[in-house]
């Protein structure tokens, strides 16, 4: 490390650092005073001084300068003083690793102390000091403590293994601590068992495929025994662990349920919810005709209701979980509607959740009550809540047919209040009611039309225009109404413009004689005066349809629309099943699979409810039929924002879920103007790419089969899965998400988005080609202009099949760096030409420089030092990398994935200095020094290179890699 310290001196970073540091953070006098007191002979004074130090530390003052003085107080028989010193050590050892070594002897000695409290305290504290040198000394004492005669020490040691694993996983494995930990599951003391389970669960989270918690009937039995005797927190860990077990048969399942049920009466709500999870999962295995099954169902309701009388934060989490439970098993809470009634002083987040569950529980039996409540809520103060309540009334109408009339009249009452946002929400939901019950409530149109002027939100305006267009033949002045909207056509949002275009075309097809002028006007507005490609395209399509074949136009535009489904916002069944296995977790709060979002949990397996023993009905979802809502599996609404969802939105925003088996032409109804594109989508490409699958969320029965292995893929989930995949390979080359390189507008319908990646030493250009035009594209080819690093395609562009309209294909083009070189501005600019059967298109894109970092870029230390000195200081560039929450080791790991190699690390005054080297494909070396200070998210990066113009781009790579 000598060379590094030399380096420091060169750079003027002396040992004076410490002094200057505390002068700026604390008053000089204070620190001096404390120093004197800490060195006092009087015990009492010493203790008071340490207390003062701790107090300063808690409020964030830097008292690290007192490290040696505080550590000196450690050798004491006063337990309080010892504990205080330990507290201090844990906080500052990381920044003073050399000093911390001084404490090791005392720790090791304390681990042998006759008093179990001190033994436990010592091993516990040692585990909290995240310094490599100390952890080396920890192994022996820890091994002893894991086998200690006193259970208090054993249970502390069990947690300590988890701590050590967090710091150095390899060490834990090498030392065999995992096996010792597994043995502790059979410990005689329940608290030790609970902690061992907790520690193993935490370790297992970062170990994808390890068989750490190998559960078998014997261990399950031990866990169940410990469950009755350990603390409430231990019960949570054990229950969560039990939930991962798959019982062999229904009898075992029942016996576990029986032993878990008493936990439902625990005062700790987390225990209750974990118990609910175990029961919900295991009862799937019980035969439904079993008496016990019914008993269990009845037992589940009261504890869930009780959770709702707890603090609001607990209520919120409980409600998010109840939302899942109600979807899976509506029968459990079907009589408990009233507990979900909203109270005036509930926090808003509780109110909104309650409302959601009320709708889910609404049925013919209780609809009157629900409606009365909803009407009450519509007069509350909070605007968000009122809006949601009004929407809820619409959802009731769609869900419970018998109540539709009542709902409509309630909505009309609300419209009479003339409260602006209430009226707008009401109109949006009435549009849905029209779609569900056509030709039934059109008498209210007159009332709706009275409120035309007060609508200022796009969604409400679009809904109103849809209504006018759809029922143009019954509204005498439909043309006038639509004309009035047309005046400010260009100021409207796209949603309204599209809707207006369609509505006027509908009107024209219904009353061709009087509206010719109007339709001309709107078509020219849409096609000639608009910048919006969607609008223009749709305008042209209508125009051509109308001019070539009006009869066909009528068939397309006025086609009968499919009815909308009754249940909206349902969670896709496979996801729901997975979430039921994760009740009580963050996943259940966000209603997303755990793999989708928790950092570091790479090893999450998709959990599935075990199949019911000896049951024939497990394949089709039995509960839906039972609840009496519908025979078909519930259709899921494609979430807005995905590909097809957007297309569907063209005409009808919310619940446009369709029945899977309907033939395509019928299914598309008014959207048929997209013609062949959709057909081809439906034809062969289901399951091709996730985003398409997402769009087709309406076909849940087809999906799982088409997607084969991936268990929980379903509607609207494509994006989540992409994410999950990203988490799966943490230290590889970081690939920037694809960006749009060539918009369809500029390339006659060809859209290209892409990114670059370096995989196994090969540079690849990943592109998605999308055909947004009406005709098939073929004959693709690609060429690069000369560029700074001589990049060129290493092979032809492999687009084998013709690209049909609306199809997207992903291609990966390998690149070489032997092409002609020409310096570009900026340096990483790349000009590309793509040719197809239509034309040649040009675009330029910029690649991350890290693409060119080669795998053998690790420099010898001596060479590094020499080179660093050799490069003139003028060539050095300094950068700040802000807001990186990684420690230096994690950062160095991450960088290594992008071929930025850390050659050495040195820690000075709590600051880690990493010395790194990079080699580019054209053999340019880049040297870097990165300074990382614990607790400070801002890194300082100094880059030296003989070609200084690359520094800026190297810095960008650092920034990109560290932040992603």
């Amino acid at each position: 490390m000598e060379w590094a310290s030399q380096l420091c001196e060169n750079r003027g970073l002396g040992s004076k650092m410490t002094d200057s540091k505390y002068f700026t953070t604390t008053k000089k006098g204070e620190i001096f005073e404390l120093k004197a007191e800490l060195n006092s002979d009087k015990k009492e004074k010493k203790k008071e001084a340490v207390k003062k130090v701790i107090a300063s530390m808690t409020v964030g003052k830097d008292v690290s300068a007192l490290f040696p003085d505080v550590v000196n107080c450690m050798q004491t028989d006063n337990l309080e003083l010892k504990k205080l010193v330990y507290l201090y050590l844990m906080n500052y050892a990381k920044s003073q690793p050399d000093m911390a070594i001084m404490a090791v002897n005392t720790f090791v000695k304390d681990c042998e102390d006759p008093n179990p409290l001190i033994r436990a305290l010592a091993v516990r504290t040692m585990g909290c000091i995240r310094v490599d040198k100390i952890t080396e000394y920890l192994c022996e004492p820890l091994r002893k403590c894991l086998k200690d005669e006193d259970p208090y020490v054993r249970k502390t040691a069990a947690v300590c293994v988890a701590k050590l694993h967090d710091i150095n996983a390899q060490l834990v494995e090498d030392q065999g601590f995992l096996d010792t930990l597994k043995d502790l599951i059979s410990d005689s003391n329940p608290m030790v068992v609970a902690n061992a389970v907790a520690a193993l669960s935490e370790i297992a989270e970062s170990h994808p495929n390890s068989n750490l918690l190998d559960l078998n009937p014997q261990t399950i039995n031990k866990l169940l025994t410990a469950l009755n005797e350990c603390t409430e927190w231990g019960q949570i860990f054990i229950l969560d662990c039990l939930a991962n077990y798959t019982p062999r048969d229904d009898r075992e399942s029942q016996s576990i349920c029986e032993r878990v049920t008493p936990r439902l009466s625990h005062a700790n709500s987390a225990v209750v919810l974990s118990a609910v999870k175990v029961l919900m999962k295991f009862m799937e295995m019980l035969p439904k005709d079993l008496d016990y099954y019914g008993t269990l169902l009845k037992k589940l309701a009261p504890p869930l209701v009780t959770l709702l009388s707890a603090e609001p934060e607990l209520q919120y989490v409980a409600l998010r979980n109840i939302n899942l439970i109600v979807q899976k098993r509506p029968e459990i809470l079907k009589h408990e509607m009233k507990v979900f009634f909203v109270k005036y002083n509930d926090p808003i987040y509780v109110k909104l959740e309650k409302l959601d569950i009320m709708i889910r529980l609404a049925s013919q039996a209780n609809i009157a009550q629900v409606l009365a409540e909803l009407k009450e809520y519509a007069t509350e103060v909070d605007v968000d809540f009122v809006r949601k309540a009004v929407r809820a009334i619409g959802r009731c109408a769609i869900k419970v047919e018998q109540s539709a009339e009542r709902c409509v009249s309630t909505l009309l009452d609300l419209i009479q209040t003339k409260v602006n946002y209430v009226v707008q929400e009401a109109i949006v939901v009435i549009k849905d009611i029209f779609r569900k019950y056509p030709n039934k409530y059109e008498s209210v149109i007159a009332t709706l039309c009275e409120n035309l002027d007060s609508l200022d939100e796009p969604e409400a305006r679009a809904a109103m225009i849809w209504i006018v267009g759809e029922y143009a033949e019954r509204i005498d002045n439909a043309d006038e109404l639509l004309e009035s909207f047309l005046e400010g056509f260009h100021d409207e949002s796209t949603q309204v413009q599209l809707q207006l275009l369609t509505a006027i075309v509908k009107l024209f097809l219904k009353k061709p004689t009087e509206t010719q002028e109007l339709v001309q006007q709107v078509l020219s507005l849409a096609t000639q005066d608009s910048d919006n490609p969607d609008l223009r395209d749709r305008g042209y399509i209508y125009w051509r349809l109308l001019s070539t074949d009006p009869v066909a136009a009528k068939e397309v535009v006025l086609a009968e629309k499919p009815l909308i489904s009754e249940e909206t916002d349902l969670i896709e069944p496979t996801l729901l099943e997975e979430l039921i296995c994760h009740i009580g977790t963050l996943a259940s709060v966000y209603h997303k699979p755990p793999s989708a979002f928790v950092e570091g949990s790479r090893g999450v397996q998709h959990r599935r409810i075990p199949p019911r023993a000896g049951s024939v009905e497990s394949a089709e979802s039995p509960d839906v039929g039972q609840s009496g809502s519908s025979e078909a599996p519930p259709a899921v609404i494609p979430s807005q924002g995905d590909l097809l969802g957007d297309l569907l939105n063209l005409d009808l925003a919310p619940p446009t879920s369709t029945v899977p088996s309907v033939q395509p032409s019928m299914q598309m109804g008014a959207m048929d103007l997209l013609g062949g594109g959709l057909d081809s989508l439906l034809g062969g490409d289901i399951g091709g790419s996730p985003s398409m699958g997402a769009g087709l969320g309406a076909a849940p029965t087809v999906m799982p089969a088409a997607l084969g292995g991936a268990p929980a893929v379903g509607g609207g989930l494509g994006d989540l899965f992409d994410l999950g995949g990203g988490v799966g390979m943490p230290t590889g080359f970081y690939v920037v998400p694809k960006t749009m390189w060539l918009p369809a507008m500029k390339a006659k319908g060809l859209e290209i988005s892409g990114t670059f990646a370096r995989r196994g030493g090969i540079i690849q250009m990943d592109m998605s080609l999308t055909n947004k035009a009406m005709s098939v594209m073929t004959d693709f080819a690609i060429q690069f202009n000369r560029n700074s690093f001589g990049m060129a395609p290493a092979g032809p562009l492999q687009v084998l099949t013709p690209l049909s309209p609306n199809q997207t294909i992903d291609v990966s083009l390998p690149l070489s760096t032997n092409g002609p070189v020409m310096k570009m501005e900026p340096l990483n600019n790349l000009q590309v030409a793509v040719k197809n059967n239509i034309d040649v298109f040009y675009f330029s894109c910029q690649f991350p420089l890290s693409l060119l970092f080669v795998e053998d870029g690790k420099m010898e230390r001596q060479v590094f030092l020499a080179t660093w000195k050799d490069i003139p200081n003028d060539n050095e560039a300094q950068f700040q990398i802000k807001d990186v929450h990684l420690n230096s080791d994690a950062a160095s790991n991450k960088l290594q994935g992008s071929n930025i190699f850390t050659i050495a690390k040195r820690t000075v005054e709590g600051q880690d200095m990493l010395y790194q080297s990079i080699k580019l494909t054209n053999s340019i070396w880049v040297l870097a020094e990165m300074r990382v200070q614990t607790g400070n998210p801002n890194y300082t990066l100094s880059i030296k290179c003989r070609a200084p113009e690359v520094c800026q781009f190297v810095y960008q790579c650092y920034e990109m890699v560290l932040k992603n």
Binding site: E44, K51, T58, V59, L79, E80, L87, N91, N115, L117, Y152, T156, V159, A162, K163, N189, M191, N195, A198, E205, W233, I236, P262, S265, A267, S269, A270, V272, P302, P303, T306, S309, E311, P312, L314, V317, H335, E336, K338, F341, K343, Y344, N345, P347, Y349, A372, E376, T379, E380, V381, T417, T585, L586, E599, V604, D883, H885, T934, G935, N936
Partner: protein, 418 residues
């Protein structure tokens, strides 16, 4: 597990941080502040906040936000329960849980937090164990400590830590052995305009104060245990005996604790002790309105209703109220828009009435929302559900304890719609 804890006051000052693993920069709280800002009211801050690298799970208690930082998948309820436990421990130690008291006792707070969690795993959360490890501050103790030089950290392993009854320490001694139970019931109800019950339920708890020597084994039985079908027990209660015999059998913790809570739901016909006749209306013109509220007894089981308070949340446009109360005093706060009418004892012979006019911001339109009434009340010597304790038996010790049971009924979230 729980990674770090930040305490933040209502004004947005972060005044304490504690890390159980590596240190997480306090800048992570910026996400919390953002959510706090968006929520306007402190009560409305969402309990779980997602940030790019962490999850922030928070509770709001005693005007303090307890914000915890989570990095891995952890049951959120566990975290929330634990945060409440921290608040309760502070309350228990210092008599209140406020920013000032936490700052004054920052070292004890720090010692407590260190003792309650290890590496994010709960370690000791039972009050009696903690008190053996770290003694709560008292004036007397701090005097004794200064004189004798002894410390307020326990030197030996707490006895309860590993026994199968962690909630009780061994060797408890009292000269007077006593056991008191408070049956407290709260009525949560929503009544509609016409006075019909939309929803009503009873949340009951039995709080106990047991100061008895040795290891007493107690059995509490009820006259009418059938009322209780939805119960949650303190860990000390033997659930099997409740299942089979409907008695509560337990070895009590020392001192104050909540023995059980129960829930009697709407189906069981919850008695509503008072009725409210009200008429609050606003005129289309003239920027004014009228208010007329009368409260009377309904099902009080022959007991007196005390501490009766009516709170009305007025619409924003109401500037002032000119009212006349036949009993008690009223106060209208034009800032919070809350009208508070403190009635006191309800006299069935002469019903209290509050009547008069409201003046509105001139030119403002008639308010769109309806104000809502909240009722607060108390009835001594009565558990409104009719629950009655039958007897308390003690086994395992020789002495004869004093025993007592008290009943009280209160209004919980008791709301009348207008």
């Amino acid at each position: 597990m729980i990674h770090s804890l930040f305490l933040i006051n209502n004004g947005g000052d972060l005044f304490l941080e504690k890390h159980w693993k590596s240190v997480i920069s306090r800048s992570v709280c910026d996400y919390f502040f953002e959510a706090r800002e968006k929520a306007v009211e402190p009560d409305n801050v969402p309990p779980v906040i997602r940030t790019p690298h962490h999850y922030l799970i928070n509770i709001y208690r005693e005007k303090i936000f307890f914000v915890s930082v989570i990095q891995t998948e952890v049951p959120p309820l566990f975290v929330i329960e634990f945060l409440h436990r921290i608040a309760e421990t502070f309350q228990d130690y210092f008599g209140e849980c406020s920013e000032t008291i936490i700052k004054d006792n920052v070292v004890i707070v720090y010692e407590l937090l260190e003792e309650m969690l290890d590496n994010g795993f709960p370690l000791a959360t039972e009050s009696n164990i903690l008190k053996e490890l770290i003694r709560p501050p008292t004036i007397l103790r701090s005097m004794v400590n200064t004189i004798t030089g002894s410390s307020n950290v326990g030197e030996t392993l707490p006895t309860g830590q590993l026994s199968t009854i962690p909630w009780r320490r061994a060797g408890v001694k009292y000269t007077n052995n006593e056991a008191y139970f408070d049956v407290v019931e709260e009525i949560d109800a929503i009544l509609d305009k016409s006075g019909t019950t939309v929803f009503a339920e009873i949340q009951g708890v039995i709080d106990a104060c047991v100061k008895m020597s040795g290891m007493p084994d107690l059995t509490l039985s009820f006259m009418n245990p059938r009322l209780l079908d939805d119960v949650s027990f303190h860990p000390c209660v033997r659930y099997k005996r409740w299942e089979s015999e409907r008695v509560i059998s337990f070895i009590p913790p020392d001192g104050n604790f909540q023995l059980m809570s129960y829930h009697i739901s709407a189906q069981n016909l919850v008695a509503i002790p008072v009725y409210v006749k009200q008429n609050i209306s606003f005129f289309e013109t003239g920027s004014s309105g009228r208010l007329d509220i009368t409260v009377g007894p309904k099902q009080t089981m022959g007991k007196t209703v005390e501490c009766l308070v009516v709170t009305v949340h007025m619409p924003k446009v109401v500037l002032s109220a000119n009212l006349n109360a036949t009993q008690g005093t009223y106060n209208y706060d034009p800032v919070t828009k809350i009208l508070l009418w403190d009635i006191g004892k309800l006299n069935p012979q002469k019903l209290p009435n509050l009547k008069g006019s409201l003046s509105l911001q001139s030119g403002a339109p008639k308010p769109e929302e309806n104000p809502s009434l909240n009722i607060d009340l108390k009835i001594q010597q009565l558990a409104i559900s009719g629950l009655k304790v039958n007897r308390l038996d003690m086994y395992g010790e020789k002495y004869k304890p004093f025993k007592g049971v008290k009943y009280v009924t209160k209004a919980g979230k008791f709301q009348v719609r207008t």
